[in-house]
């Protein structure tokens, strides 16, 4: 027996409208929780991209004294070449180093004014096989190698940041899960009310031999629509917040965060995940309600 589309659409719409306050509560809760889920997912991707960017480009920087002799330079270069953990190295001479310093210190004009190409330290930028070795390797260059001003590894601060974002993510996800559970319960309750409001119809339908699925489908669909509507709102929220963050990063030219601007592909995948979760919550809520309260 074909369930007519028109019938199902009409029933679902009527149910939603009659039950609109409950439906609104359910939809908004789904929206808030999915916005958090989406934000947490985007944050995770942005942070991992940015950290990947930082730690891949440079694991270790060896700053030379500005007046280091070419003998000292050659010495350090050969030391680097003999360090097995280092896979790749590049050298920034005075001009290049000065250019980079100008970029990094863009927000502090006085600091730039104090620099000239001649006084800017030259830098060896090394990539490590394993960024975790950075501290050890840095120590060998900091142990009084002539001409070396300082060897630094950015990984220390990256680790702290990584931990912080992990904690933030966990908090966001926990809140999101709690909200998802409550939205599931709200949807369940909304469907239960809808079933109660239509108990006469349901009774007659059973009596005259409507199939179980015929009776169930409008209620199932009602939950699905609530989940979907919430997800759509969340998609918009996530999209807007992503646009906002990207805009801020670009507008203030925070180039060190350049990689935190996510490519469209990642954004779309996240939004798809958000919509799927919304659908699952809607269907799960209404399935439970239909099973427990619709005696067919």
């Amino acid at each position: 027996m074909a369930v007519s589309l028109e019938y199902v659409a009409k029933e679902t719409a009527t149910n939603l409208w009659r039950n609109r306050m409950m439906a609104l509560a359910a939809v908004l809760t789904v929206a808030v929780s999915l916005s958090l889920v989406g934000t947490a997912l985007l944050l995770r991707q942005a942070v991992s991209r940015q950290i990947g960017q930082w730690s891949n480009n440079v694991s270790l920087q060896v700053f030379m004294n500005a007046d280091a002799t070419s003998q000292q330079l050659a010495n350090v270069r050969s030391m680097i070449a003999q360090t097995p953990q280092i896979t790749h190295v590049s050298y920034l001479d005075h001009e290049q180093s000065y250019a980079q310093a100008k970029q990094v210190l863009a927000s502090e004009p006085t600091a730039i004014q104090a620099l000239t190409p001649a006084t800017t330290p030259t830098v060896f930028r090394a990539q490590l096989k394993n960024p975790a070795d950075a501290a050890t390797v840095a120590d060998t260059f900091n142990s009084g190698v002539p001409g070396v001003y300082q060897a630094t590894s950015p990984s220390q601060s990256i680790h702290v940041m990584q931990k912080l974002t992990n904690v933030l993510q966990v908090i966001l996800l926990v809140i999101a899960i709690v909200l998802l559970v409550s939205s599931l319960v709200l949807i369940l309750n909304a469907i239960r009310m809808a079933i109660f409001a239509r108990r006469r119809e349901v009774g007659v339908m059973k009596l005259v031999g409507a199939t179980n699925w015929f009776i169930r489908i409008p209620f199932m669909l009602e939950g699905l629509v609530q989940g979907l509507l919430g997800a759509v709102v969340a998609v918009v929220v996530v999209l807007l917040s992503n646009l906002g963050v990207s805009y801020l990063i670009r507008h203030y030219q925070v180039s060190v965060l350049g990689s935190a601007v996510l490519p469209v592909h990642d954004l779309v995948m996240t939004e798809i995940v958000v919509v799927l979760i919304g659908l699952v919550v809607g269907v799960a809520g209404s399935s439970v309600a239909v099973r427990r309260f619709l005696d067919v």
């Binding site: 027996m1 074909a2 369930v3 007519s4 019938y7 006469r200 119809e201 009774g203 007659v204 339908m205 059973k206 009596l207 005259v208 031999g209 409507a210 199939t211 179980n212 015929f214 009776i215």
Partner: protein
Amino acid sequence: MIRFDNVTKSYKGLAPALYDISLEIQKGEFVFLVGSSGSGKTTFLKLLLREAVPDSGSILVAGRDIGELSHWRVPYLRRNLGCVFQDFRLLPNKTVTENVAFALEVIGRPKSVISSQVSQVLELVGLGQKGDRMPHELSGGEQQRVAVARAFVNRPLVLLADEPTGNLDPSTSQGIMKLLDRINRTGTTVVMATHDVGIVDTMRRRVIELDRGRLVRDQARGVYGADMNSTTRGVPAVVMGGGNDLLYDVDGDPVTGRVAAVRARRGQR
């Protein structure tokens, strides 16, 4: 059409609602199911609709053992069984036409079929002019006619009626009985549970009497009480019925014979 083989049904912790019932109802029969409250009439109908399943024994409807039906086949069984209740069970927010059409819509009949069958059946029950009314605008008798129309619109093999006249005054009840009789004459089997002595005694159809779950009488062209003077159920049938004004046959003529004697006796009081 309907066969009960040694059917027993009990509810948790109680004496059996039905005990070892075996009987057969032929196609086209009109059967009254009588007995005091709690005698098992409603359980009998519930088993037929498979709202309940017997503890033991089997029930055949149209040659099928309905105990064997898988869960998802039950709706298809119910399409063959029309149902009428004491409380009508109409949908208050739908018109008469919509109420009847609803029964066909939810089993997926096409629209064209629905509109022709609905107007046909409304004519049959005498509500051809009142299709646009809401249930609350109708009298009780008219509402029950709508319920009968809804039960019959799909041309079921069997029409089950659980005290269809229980809420109606005697003359209205008579109209409903005429209608059920007309439906019966189309070849539809009718099984009607009732307390209404007058109706049973007037119609003189097969009477199946249940007493505390047991089949105590199965009588062709029977009356409500086995013996008019007996007090087996505690109250003389005449007093119990309260429907003595309904001593007319289905065509509206006063019945003669025994019933007339009852009336005469009443007149003497």
